[in-house]
Assembly symmetry: C2
């Protein structure tokens, strides 16, 4: 997977409406949850809720985390395309962000990315870290006691902790409030310049 490795880029035009939505919905914990769609090697869609973990440096790339043993890792390694759907209940608006995903593992060749992987591990909650010690997700249930291991080292990420980056190339923003039904399409061109178009909702 190629990765756009600039550390700073111009704020994309969808960043400001997205920041506003995040801000206006921040009283709802689950307004940081969104749905990530990927495709299986058989060409079937898969879809699950994940948690937004902020942006990568001063770029437009979104940060997420995943367990290496999760089914989506296998899918992403074969087809990096994804679309996230992010619905904000309070303001009744939706963002759809399409782009390629990058998995950042322990052996990532870029020291700055392994550093982000480490700081992200340090920033997440004890509960979130604990999940990486659980038995293999998706396999037949093992007894509950296996879920109660000592919390892992806070400083250094476990091997199965992956950072997941989304580099959006197409973004749609839909507003569905009574008084404002609007929809915008943002697209990036080959020079990584964004265009904005107002479209019918």
């Amino acid at each position: 997977m190629e990765l756009n490795l600039v550390e700073e880029e111009e704020l994309a035009p969808w960043r400001s409406p997205l920041a506003r939505a995040i801000n206006k919905n921040q009283s709802l914990t689950y307004a940081r949850y969104l749905q990530l769609a990927t495709v299986t090697p058989e060409g079937q869609p898969t879809n699950r809720t994940i948690v937004f973990r902020g942006f990568l440096w001063q770029t437009n790339q979104l940060k997420f985390i995943t367990d290496s043993r999760s089914q989506k890792v296998e899918e992403i390694e074969k087809n990096a395309w994804s679309e996230i759907c992010w619905y904000f209940p309070k303001t009744r608006e939706q963002f759809r962000l399409k782009g390629k995903l990058t998995l950042v593992k322990a052996d990532n060749p870029h020291p700055k990315l392994t550093k982000v992987r480490q700081t992200t591990w340090q920033e997440i909650s004890d509960n979130a870290r604990q999940q990486f010690t659980w038995p293999h997700p998706g396999k037949s249930k093992v007894e509950a006691s296996a879920f109660k291991l000592a919390p892992p080292d806070r400083a250094n990420p476990l091997f199965n902790f992956y950072l997941l980056l989304l580099d959006p190339t197409k973004v749609e923003h839909l507003e569905l409030r009574e008084e404002a039904k609007n929809r915008w399409l943002y697209q990036i061109d080959i020079y990584r310049t964004w265009t904005t178009q107002e479209i019918n909702p």
Copy 2:
């Protein structure tokens, strides 16, 4: 697209936990919103929020509606596979339902399905019906006055009103409450019999 046209089938084992989640979250309007992932002809995932409209008759098929002019219709006609992701904020649980979609148009050969298309049209709100008179969704924005047409006939669906059915064949249920971290996998076999398996969250 083949359609399983039985009017009554045994309640699938995931129906009861799903009904409980819907019930416990019913104070939140948006707990009836969920995310539908499909795949483009180029093999890229797409993902958007849609509204649950109940079950088809006494079956396990979920009802939705769509505008014939929506991008997803084109995608579904080429690849009927989909996965919906349904997160319930109050009870902190997620359902993922994978299966094939069926579009029910005005010219559907089954009178019972065209009847459901009609009654579904009658049951939705004026606002929901009104959207089917709006200019072509996703095209360049036309002036706002075009969105203010007279409400359409309540009795008979507009031509571009499609019923959308999902026939799940694989369902995953994840509970993330502090006191209960559980995950179940439900799968249908070729005889349309469901198996239930408890798996690691």
